[in-house]
Each structure stands twice: as C-alpha cells, then as structure tokens.
C-alpha cells in the first residue's frame, strides 16, 4: 500500500482537494463550488477523491482557505495554514524560480513576491471585491454569457472598451452605459478583463516590485482574456500552470507531508453528521457570537469568544472531568 497526502483548499466560492504522492505529484484532484456550505462541499470532495484512488493510505491532512479552521477541526487536520503561505509553497513546487505570484480567486486576490525560494513580501486585497472572480461572474450573468466563455470572447476583441476600474459600482454603471450606446459585447468583455487587471495592479500590486518570472493562478487564471491583459500591462510572459486553480491545496498537502503524524486518515466521514450551532454569549455587552462545532452529539471545538467568560470548550471539559 502506498502513502498519499491530502490537501484541501476551502474557499468562499470554490472548494478544491488534491491527494499527492511522496514526489509531490497530484494523483487525485477535485474542484467544486462551495455554495455556502463548506462542510457538505468537503464531504463531497472527499468521497470523490476516495473513488479516484486505489490502495493508497492517507498519512496526513492539511487545510487552507477561509474555512480552514472549521474543516481542520472536522477532519482532525495535521496542518491548518493560511492561503498565502500555502499558495507560495504550492507554486514553488511547480515553478522553483518564480519571483512573482499573481493570484485571483473568488473573493480575494493577492500578490506574493519571492526571492530565492522565500516569500519576501505579499499583499492581499482589503476592503474591495473589485477585480476578483465573483465580480467577473456577476458581470458575465449581466451580459448573458457563461463565465467560462469569457476569456475566448475577450480574445476576439480588436478594440477593447475602456471601463472604469476603480470600483465595482463604477465599473458596473460604466459597463451598462457603454453597452447601451452600442459598444460590442466582445469589446466590453475585453474591457472588463483589462479593468480587473488594472484594478489588481493598482490596488494589490501597488508599490510592489514585480519581477519575472511571473506565475498567475487562482480561478480567474483560467480566463485567457485576463492572462492577455496581464501580459499587455506588465510586458512580460505570464506562466499559467494547468493546475493553477489547485496551487493552494497542493501547497497545504506538501506542508501536511512535512508534518505527518503516524495515523491513517479515515475516508468514511460521509455518514458522520457534523454540525455547527451558533449562539450569542450574553455574559457581557460585547455579545460574542460563539460557534460550537459538533461531531454527532459531541462538542469537538468552539470559537468566537473574546475572553474567558465565553470559553465553552473549557467549561465542557471541566464538566466532563
């Protein structure tokens, strides 16, 4: 029986999972929508990954993405890591010489600068969702095209429409206006791709020293129009791996491999019920929203409290002792 390592990236929009072998090669992968229910999404992914492999024991599990803590507790993960570190590790395993990583996901975007295989600087979008995947998909809907076709349509444009890139609200009203005065659909779509890139370079990439080789990843890297807009804006070649959407979970799988503990992961979680129950603490005016996480009927973790008064875990521990 061979050994494998499981990495899961549970993002706000999509959930990704991979199993790698000892050589960091992906032997099973899956990508689905989170649909606001990370627990169910992970169950589906694990079930699917299980059917892809044969005679492999999972020695350790890592989680990343915005639901990393929740799922980390659910699966008893060995490593729970933030997206930035996970992405850097994943990308370095495929592109050892990379100096700049552009990453645009569903709700966030980030830039990671690397020197000699070490992360030396990074930035993440702060208050604004402009220039992320969800913005593109909502605009695709408005224009009546599938977001997957977006890139190819954009490439047909000879004269991209200029669309205000500062803010989604401005971009949207600009887009509606331009469409109504007769700009062609492919030009508008190409203009949107450029708006995303300009927004990204002006906000996230602001003041950063962008050096080649550049790697572009995250869900939006599947969009050929955005890749082209990046190449035009930076005047550099942009490398996009075929697994560019899986770099986060690949990275955390590698980290899990490094931190493996000797226990075998059990795939049979689909029948176990995992449930979160939220309540307000009410012990002081702060009213922390406390999340209790149950596996069946047992409380396995709780968080959200700011002070000791709201520490549900400790109280249950004491009660059981």
């Amino acid at each position: 029986m061979k050994t494998g390592y499981l990495g899961l990236d549970i993002g706000s929009i999509s959930t990704k999972g991979v199993i790698i072998n000892e050589e960091n090669k992906i032997i099973a992968e899956k990508y689905i929508w989170t649909e606001g229910n990370p627990i169910e999404a992970v169950k589906t992914i694990i079930c699917d990954l299980k059917n892809q492999i044969d005679d492999i024991a999972i020695a350790s599990v890592g989680t990343t993405g915005s639901a990393r803590k929740l799922i980390g507790v659910m699966l008893g993960a060995d490593v729970v890591k933030n997206e930035i570190t996970a992405h850097a590790i994943g990308t370095l395993s495929v592109f050892p010489d990379v100096k700049t990583i552009f990453e645009i996901g569903g709700q966030d975007s980030k830039i990671i600068l690397i020197e000699n295989g070490i992360v030396v600087d990074y930035a993440m979008n702060t208050l604004c969702a402009a220039g992320t995947g969800s913005f593109l998909s909502s605009q695709a809907q408005r224009l009546g095209v599938e977001v997957e076709e977006f890139g190819d349509i954009a490439l047909q444009s000879k004269n991209p429409t200029k669309i205000a890139a500062r803010c989604t609200v401005f971009a949207e009203s600009d887009l509606v206006h331009k469409a109504q005065i007769g700009h062609k659909k492919e030009d508008i779509i190409a203009g949107l791709c450029m708006a995303v890139v300009n927004n990204y370079l002006n906000n996230v990439g602001k003041g950063k020293n962008i050096k080649p080789p550049i790697v572009f990843q995250g869900g939006v890297s599947k969009n050929a129009g955005v890749i082209k807009a990046f190449e035009d804006a930076t005047k550099e070649t942009i490398a996009v791996d075929k697994n560019s959407h899986l770099m986060g979970c690949l990275g955390v799988a590698i980290l899990a491999k490094k931190h493996k503990k000797d226990h075998v992961f059990d795939f049979d979680i689909s029948d176990i019920s995992f449930e979160t129950r939220g309540h307000e603490c009410k012990k002081c005016p702060n009213n922390c929203e406390i999340i209790c996480f149950y596996k069946g009927d047992t409380l396995i973790d709780a968080w959200g409290n700011r002070c000791e008064n709201g520490n549900v875990m400790e109280k249950t521990m004491q009660a059981t002792v």
Binding site: I84, L127, G207, P285, N286, N287, C288
Partner: protein
C-alpha cells in the same frame, strides 16, 4: 445638580485620567465610559457619518453609553487632523439625539496649565491653582510610568514562561495606580512593580523576531480597534515595539519636532500632517535598527497616514523590510486580520531562517 464627569476610552489611559479627575473634582462624581464592546461600536456607528474615521465612532459610542449611565459632563480633546473637528460634531450629534450635558473641549493649540485651570474652575472645583498643578504633575508622571511599563510588557510578553503572568501583574499594577495620590507614593509603586516585572521569568532568544508598529494614534493605542494585534503578535513569540504613546504625543513630539523630520531622512522634506511624519521617521529608524518587519495601521480614510504610505513603501524597498498595511473600520473582518498576521509571521520566520 450633581455633576457626573465622563470621558471616552483609549487603551489603559482611563486609569490616570480617572485619577486626575477624582483629585481635581472632589465634589463631583467621575464615571469613565463603560468598557468598549461591540455594542459601543454599533451605537457609535449608527449615529456617526458613514465615512468618518473609526475613532470618532468609538468615542461617540463611549459618550452614548456614559450618558445612559447618567453622565452629564463630557470631555473631548482635539488634534491636528479630522480629530480637531470631533468635539464640535459629536456635541451636535448628541444634542440632536436629545441628551442634555456640558461638553468640555480641550483643543491642543490652546492647552497650557493656566487655560486648563480656567476650564476646571468653570466646571467647578474648590482647589487652588497650586494644588491643581501638583495633581497635574503627578498624573503626567503616572502616564509616563504606564507607558514605560507597557513598552517593557510589549517587548517581553511573547516570551513569558508562565502563561498570563504578565497580564495578571499588569492588571494588578493598574489597580494599584488607581489609589495613588502623591508623588512619593507613585515612585514607590513604580519601583516595586518595575522590579516585579523584570523578575517575571521569560525565555527570550537573542535573535527573536522583532516587529515595529507605526501608524495612527487611536488605532495603535486602543487594542479593541485593532483586533488586539499586539496580543496576536505576542502569541507568535514576537517582540513588539511601538513608540506612539500619550507621553510621546503630549511632550516628546513637540520637543523633537525638528529631529523627527530630520529623522525621516530623504523620505520627507516637509511634514505631512498629524502623525504621518512620525510614522515615516519611526519606520526608517526601526528598519535601520534591523527590525524584521513593520506593521502600519490606520483607520480607513485617515489622510495623514495615507500620506505616509508611499514613503513607507520606499523604505520597504530600500531596507528590504516587509511592511503589512491595515485599515480598520467598524466592519473589518477579524478572520481577514488573522489570516494576514499569520502569513506575515510565516514570511518573517522563512526570511529569518533563510
């Protein structure tokens, strides 16, 4: 009518402020605003203009909660940015809400012991100018002692060997200060606690990670407003340094004004307003001292600190020191802050281990 005097919160400074007010107004009641909670911020945001910087919202929330507890004299200071307008607007908002109160505005360009004494007489106090001055000196000293002690705590709490030993002693120290009424007593207390803090057992490696905090004063000094960033950093065994304290703002800043601009070196030719100049100067100084990283924090939309950011980016490039930027507002996601801090810590560790 009985006067109940109240004031907004910032860090632990309610201890000396409350002590001072009790000393100079023996005939009135002193009631610090209830401790900041999410409700404070909700109340403040609800009644504030949407785009005002977040300290305004915290202050206003503090006032509302204090007024609800019966306060009828409120104190506000002012400064060299939008902070200078806080008092006027907050007074108007609170009056529009129907509260009745006396509003005392201490604006920074007019502050000196004589004008302060005049204000104090207007509120109503039997004490002489001479006595007033004595109390003022005592409290200024107390603030300095608190600032020195907290600087020591920040640099060492991340390495305590016994969990919460620093936190518990810090609490005890602040409680002890509340009862101090004379300089000689203050000095004894200072000596005693200084010794006890230094005796707390720590396990601090020679080349531990060092992070400097620079930025806007309120979000730096009020831990609730920055999601307890210093605590989060300390949890990861990081030495945290920050220089913006009340002592610095009241005294050192004016004394060292020219030096600060000079200290900013080639990055600044003239001042950029409020604390922006300090952020650049401190950023450069900390980079030169070999700190591993800088964190710049500000309320969303804080002009002076927005001014400071391009210079900090240049410092980051020249000294190869990473800078993490945070803008705080009433709706900031705590998870987002934690993710960025965690990644920052990972990056600093990787850089150090090479």
């Amino acid at each position: 009518m009985e006067k109940i005097i109240s004031f907004p919160h910032m860090g632990n400074y309610f201890v000396p402020v409350e002590a001072l007010l009790r000393l100079i107004f023996p005939g009135h009641k002193v009631l610090p605003a209830p401790a900041i909670t999410k409700k404070t911020l909700e109340l403040g945001s609800k009644h504030s203009p949407d785009f005002v910087c977040v300290p305004f919202k915290y202050n206003l929330g503090n006032y509302i909660e204090a007024l609800e507890k019966g306060a009828n004299v409120l104190i506000q200071a002012g400064g060299g940015c939008r902070y200078g307008y806080y008092a006027e607007i907050q007074e108007q908002i609170l009056r529009d809400m129907g509260y009745e109160f006396q509003f005392i505005k201490l604006l920074s360009d007019k502050i000196n012991p004589i004008s302060l004494y005049k204000t104090v007489r207007e509120i109503g106090t039997p004490i002489s100018f001479h006595k007033f001055l004595g109390h003022l000196v005592l409290i200024i000293k107390m603030v300095r002692i608190i600032d020195d002690t907290e600087a020591f705590i920040r640099e060492n709490i991340g390495f305590e060997t016994e969990e919460n030993s620093f936190r518990d002693l810090h609490r005890e120290f602040l409680n002890r200060l509340k009862t101090v009424t004379a300089l000689s007593e203050l000095n004894t207390v200072h000596r005693e606690y200084d010794k006890r803090f230094r005796e707390l057992s720590i396990n601090k490696p020679e080349n531990c990670l060092k992070v400097g905090l620079v930025g806007e004063l309120y979000t730096l000094m009020e831990p609730f407003s920055n999601f307890f960033i210093e605590k989060e950093l300390a949890k990861n065994n990081i030495q945290v340094s920050r220089y913006i304290t009340v002592t610095f703002l009241l005294f050192d800043k004016f004394r060292r004004r020219k030096q600060i601009l000079k200290g900013a070196g080639k990055y600044l030719k003239y001042e950029i307003g409020a604390d922006g100049t300090d952020s650049v100067e401190r950023g450069r100084t900390l980079a030169k001292m070999g700190y591993d990283g800088l964190i710049h924090i500000k309320p969303f939309g804080c002009m002076p600190e927005v001014n400071a950011m391009p210079m900090l980016q240049n410092i980051s490039k020249d000294f190869k020191i990473p800078v993490l930027y945070f803008s705080f507002d009433s709706q900031t996601s705590e998870t987002g802050v934690k993710t960025r801090l965690e990644a920052f810590h990972d990056m600093l560790t990787m850089r150090k281990d090479g």
